[in-house]
Amino acid sequence: MGGWFNPEALTPARFADGFERVDGIYSGFRLNHAKGVCVSGSFESNGRGTRLSKAVVFKAGRMPIIGRFSLAGGNPYVADEPEMVRGFGLLFKLSDGEEWRTAMINTPVFGVNTPQAFYDRLLAAQPNPKTGNPDPEKMAAFLASHPETVRATKIIQSHPASSGFENSTYYGLNAFWFMDANGRSIPVRWSLAPVQPFAPANSTGPARPDKNYLFDALIASILQQPLQWHLIITIGQANDPTNDATIPWPDAREQLDVGTLTLERVESEDTSPCRDINFDPLVLPEGMAPSDDPLLSARSAVYSQSFTRRAGEKKLPSAVMPSEVRE
């Protein structure tokens, strides 16, 4: 009940205000990962995941999916840059009517490990209105008190970004629990490994590419042929931290390929239902449960706050217009 008794406590509403203060207000758009495009296709489960979880999503078979690729930040018209964090939200429609939603990004670990640190970093990175750049002193002060962010940044920088959305690996970031049919629980993380071959970010495209070049390349490649990713489950062990998204699990952890995601269609947010879906990472089917990672409940709360705010706002056209998506 923090928000009622302590006006300084971080609430979903204060979080949302923070985003609006730093990035400005864009009517009808998400507070974060505002710039995006919608995709759809299917997930073909190979049945191997049933060993880990009784979730219906892992039973062998095909199910429809809706997804959304995005760039981090609250500006829906921002010019694409290769080093911007890329997001991939996914909604699996399970055969028994349940859903699994997950929101992933293309960095192997997250830069912060608590909601408060996320908020403090957001404000520390706020551009100074005079210079247009973040205040280096504020960020230095933040990093000085957050060694975990310094460590996570080194890990992120050791995984250079790929040339586009279509050949990026996406990571679920937080740990979760899987429960199998016998009631056994194991800690897991998941990621999507692209079938499209990796190419480094700076090797392609002109020096000053188009404002939407990442999105345009994604659209062009889906229109050419379906894009595919393998859903990889990383199986944690007893001592692996489940409450700290800045710490990777050891490389030796077993990884299980549980199925293939195929994207066949791409659509502007203006015409697809994905704009009006909240990719809440805690919409989980039976057989999956949140870990003790404090970011998870906070993500759910803030995503919900962002969804409620934009739901009632006038919808402005998305940067990736319907006309760009047509062949």
Binding site: P12, D276, V283, S297, F307, A311, G312
Partner: protein
């Protein structure tokens, strides 16, 4: 009906339903307030909020049907006809709120295209189409109705306290959870 056998209390079933509803609704109001202001407990509280809301809807519907087939004790002689009609109207209003509020919650999750999970894989079907403008209206209505419910509860509670402690007419004993003997 002679004075000796005159019914002074609501039936035991009605009293049971009354106190069950009171406990559920007060719990629900507290959860709702805590939920919207919480980051750490948001998910846990929402996971309780959804099935509890549906439980309240079921209890209230059963209660309303039970009330229809039950004999009500007469109003106290201390209550004027106007007071009696106010009491009856406020009772109906509370019933209406208790039915509408869960339906608005259910409808708002439907309009947002959220899965309406109750427990495990058990979930409800959507009762409205996916439409976020509709969601926005219903989400606001859910808050307004929650405040209205709380205010109506306070008025109900205050009126009973006034009758019981100031007028000393034994109004509370009509709904007391225990059996009250005729004086």
């Amino acid at each position: 009906m002679s004075v000796a056998t005159e019914q002074r209390q609501f039936t035991s079933h009605m009293r049971l339903f009354h106190w069950l509803t009171a406990a559920l609704v007060l719990t629900m109001l507290c959860i709702g307030v805590a939920m919207v202001a919480s980051l750490a407990d948001y998910h846990r509280l929402v996971s309780i909020h959804r099935p509890l809301g549906i439980l309240i809807l079921i209890v209230v519907v059963i209660r309303f049907v039970n009330r229809h087939y039950s004999t009500l004790p007469p109003f106290h002689a201390t209550m004027s006809p106007r007071e009696r009609s106010v009491a009856s109207a406020s009772e109906l209003f509370l019933y209406a709120l208790l039915v509408v509020q869960p339906l608005v919650g259910w409808g708002m999750l439907s309009a947002a295209s959220y899965p309406i999970t109750l427990y495990g894989s058990i979930h409800l079907f959507p009762i409205l189409p996916h439409n976020v403008m509709l969601y926005a209206v219903l989400r606001r209505a859910h808050t307004v109705l929650a405040y209205l419910l709380f205010l109506t509860f306070l008025a109900h509670f205050g009126a009973v306290l006034f009758h019981t402690w100031v007028m000393r007419d034994g109004t509370f004993s009509r709904m007391a959870p225990w059996k009250v003997r005729a004086q």
